[in-house]
């Protein structure tokens, strides 16, 4: 089963944002940002889009499925 990976922590660091600051921008708690970064929780499409917008990137740059190619073979 492919796993959802993300670059949230890396992108957040690029903009020198704390988890709380990013959380505030997308209207979620700091804990939710931490869960996403740790890969414990896969966000909804809405939240993923909000995160991509807040971090000024495309959604597929921020989130991707690992093992996706293996499944297609």
């Amino acid at each position: 089963m492919p796993m959802l990976k993300n670059r949230v922590k890396e992108m957040r660091a690029r903009y020198s944002l704390t988890q709380s600051e990013l959380g505030k921008q997308v209207a979620v708690t700091r804990q939710t940002i931490a869960f996403i970064e740790k890969g414990e929780f896969s966000p909804s499409v809405t939240l993923a889009l909000k995160l991509a917008k807040a971090l000024q990137t495309d959604i597929d740059e921020l989130f991707w499925l690992e093992g996706e190619d293996d499944n297609e073979k």
């Binding site: 209207a27 700091r30 804990q31 414990e40 966000p43």
Partner: protein, 164 residues
């Protein structure tokens, strides 16, 4: 978050359950023996069992006082999400957003799985083994303790390695 009252709430319930378990020892023994005759009424209270009941009752009152003061402090800090001590919905549910809802759901699923096995097992044990009343009360309290313990462990696991 680690100091969030809702995160510690299961610990409070576990403490209350333990105190009730101790109190049950005293209440289920014959520490008060009432003998009534035509002209007299004799009440014999055994010191040890009485001490257990009154000691645990005192501890319960101390715990509930601290609990209510912490609840009051939490409500003062969080006026938008106040917790009522008489709410039907358990206050340990943390559902401010989708991430917190997901973690709460995971913990609740584990508790549900526990109940699915624990309650029929307890019923079977009580059905086949004629246990004294105290053991039945302890069994029910143990299941209740297990519920909060599982919930607390699951929630704590997710908040353990929080980093900013």
């Amino acid at each position: 978050m680690k100091n969030d009252f809702r995160l510690r709430y299961p610990l409070w319930n576990m403490a209350f359950i333990l105190v009730l378990g101790v109190m049950a020892i005293g209440l289920n023994s014959r520490f008060v023996d009432v003998t009534k005759t035509e002209n007299s009424l004799t009440i014999n209270a055994q010191a040890f069992d009485g001490a257990i009941v009154f000691g645990s009752l005192l501890l319960y009152l101390v715990l509930i006082t601290i609990y209510l003061s912490q609840l009051k402090a939490y409500n003062a800090k969080n006026p938008d999400s106040k917790i009522s001590p008489f709410a039907i919905r358990p206050p340990e549910y943390m559902e401010e957003d989708e991430g917190m809802t997901f973690i709460t759901r995971k913990a609740v699923q584990k508790v549900y799985t526990f109940f699915t096995w624990a309650l029929p097992t307890l019923a079977l044990i009580l059905l086949f083994f004629p246990l004294p009343r105290l053991y039945i009360i302890w069994g029910i309290l143990a299941v209740s303790f297990g519920q909060y313990f599982i919930y607390y462990l699951e929630i704590r696991k997710h908040f353990k390695e929080e980093t900013e």
